[in-house]
Each structure stands twice: as C-alpha cells, then as structure tokens.
C-alpha cells in the first residue's frame, strides 16, 4: 500500500510569490489533514477534510492560504502571496473514515519544506 505522498519536498520562493503544495493521501482514506511546523516549534493543525468537504479549518492562519480537495482524492494547499513567516514544514496526513479500524491513527507524509526569502 502506498503511503501519503507530498510534493514538492522542498520549495524556495521569494516573498510575494505563490506556492502550491500537493498531498496524495492513502487511497480510500476519507480524512485528510494539513499541519505545519515552524522553526522547531509545535506541529500546528491547519485544516481537516472529510472527503471533499472542509470539516475544520480553524487553524488556517489567514486568507492567503487556500486548501482544496476536489473529488475527495488529492489535496492542494496554496499560499498566495507568500510571506517570510510562512516558512516551515507542511505535513499532510490521512486516516480512514470515522468508525473504521484505525481511524484514530494518522499516517503522515514526509512533508513539504517551504522557505520564503
């Protein structure tokens, strides 16, 4: 079974530019999460999809961040325009539907490191 795949693994952009991160969850996982870790601090929740619907987007920092999951498969997280404080590692994770075995456990991708100069 393929794991959670994230692309790109590392992106370096200038302030004001746009970056789009992509996450391919484990096939069949209804739940998809985005998290971010900045400068060795805590891993912060950004948002949660259940299939194609946004279940919880309380962690999104501001309207420069836009997440989509069209068709309920892969997801994208776009940052436009990027600011210096957006630098960090963006993790995607997925889990099975609630009530299914293992639904409480998240499988993470390797992360996308974003550096904004």
């Amino acid at each position: 079974e393929a794991g959670v795949t994230q692309f790109p693994s590392h992106s370096v952009i200038e302030k004001g530019q746009t970056v789009t991160l992509r996450c391919d969850p484990i096939s069949g996982h209804d739940n998809l999460y985005w998290y971010r870790r900045v400068m060795g601090k805590e891993i912060k929740f950004l948002l949660h999809f259940v299939k194609e619907s946004k279940q919880d987007e309380s962690g999104m920092p501001n309207n420069r961040f836009l997440a989509e999951r069209t068709g309920g498969t892969y997801s994208t997280l776009k940052v436009q325009p990027a600011e210096l404080e957006d630098s960090g590692v963006y993790f995607c994770a997925s889990s099975a539907a609630w009530g299914a075995p293992g639904a409480n456990v998240l499988t993470f991708g390797a992360g996308s490191r974003l550096t904004v100069l």
């Binding site: 998290y35 805590e42 949660h48 919880d56 993790f91 994770a93 409480n104 456990v105 390797a110």
Partner: protein, 111 residues
C-alpha cells in the same frame, strides 16, 4: 488550548539506557498518541492509549496516562542508536476529530 507540551525539550543518553519523556495537556481527551519523527521524514505512529486506560506496552515502549493530572509519559527501554528522533505526543479531544500536537522532545542516543 488542548495543546500537549513535552518535557524535556531535548534528551541525550547513552545507548542501552532508558529514555523517559513526559507530556501534559489541558482539556479532556478521548485518547492520547505518541509519534516519532526521524529527520527529514514524516511522523510515524507509535502507540495509542485511550482515556480509560492507565498503561500500555508495545515492544520496548511503555506509555502511561494519568487523566487526573492530564499527563502522559513514554518510556523507551534499552535504547538504540536508531531511536534517535523527535517524539511528539498528540491528543484527540472529546468529540474532536483533529489531533493536537505538542512541541516534541528531541532524543539523541549516543553510541
């Protein structure tokens, strides 16, 4: 905030010794989980303990949970160089579907 806080932030021990990491949280939980992250990789789930459980074992891992103190500990026995990683606790709140992570403990095992 339900955010977990790990203690210590960094721990360095000799191979073969036991490593203990602690985690505190602030609100009621459904379960608490520990994850490991090796440098440059994603987080890997280690163990889950439910709110009605007090202790759980998995191989060289032992997790305890004290809901009255809102704290948990992760013990790694007979540490190995391969255990070098960052360890995070994460909580699932009552009725919440997201996991809330702490800052992590950076564990270094010296050969």
């Amino acid at each position: 905030s339900q955010q977990g806080e790990e203690d210590p932030q960094a721990l360095s021990i000799q191979e073969g010794e036991n490593a203990t990491m602690n985690c505190s949280y602030k609100t009621s939980i459904n379960n608490l989980q520990w994850y490991r992250q090796n440098s440059g990789r994603g987080l890997v789930h280690l163990i889950l303990i439910r709110s009605n459980e007090r202790e759980k074992h998995s191989g060289r891992l032992r997790v305890t949970l004290d809901t009255s103190k809102k704290s948990s500990s992760l013990l790694i026995t007979a540490s190995r160089a391969a255990d070098t990683a960052s360890y995070f606790c994460a909580t699932h709140g009552q009725g919440a579907q997201k996991l809330v992570f702490g800052q992590g403990t950076r564990l270094t095992i010296n050969p």
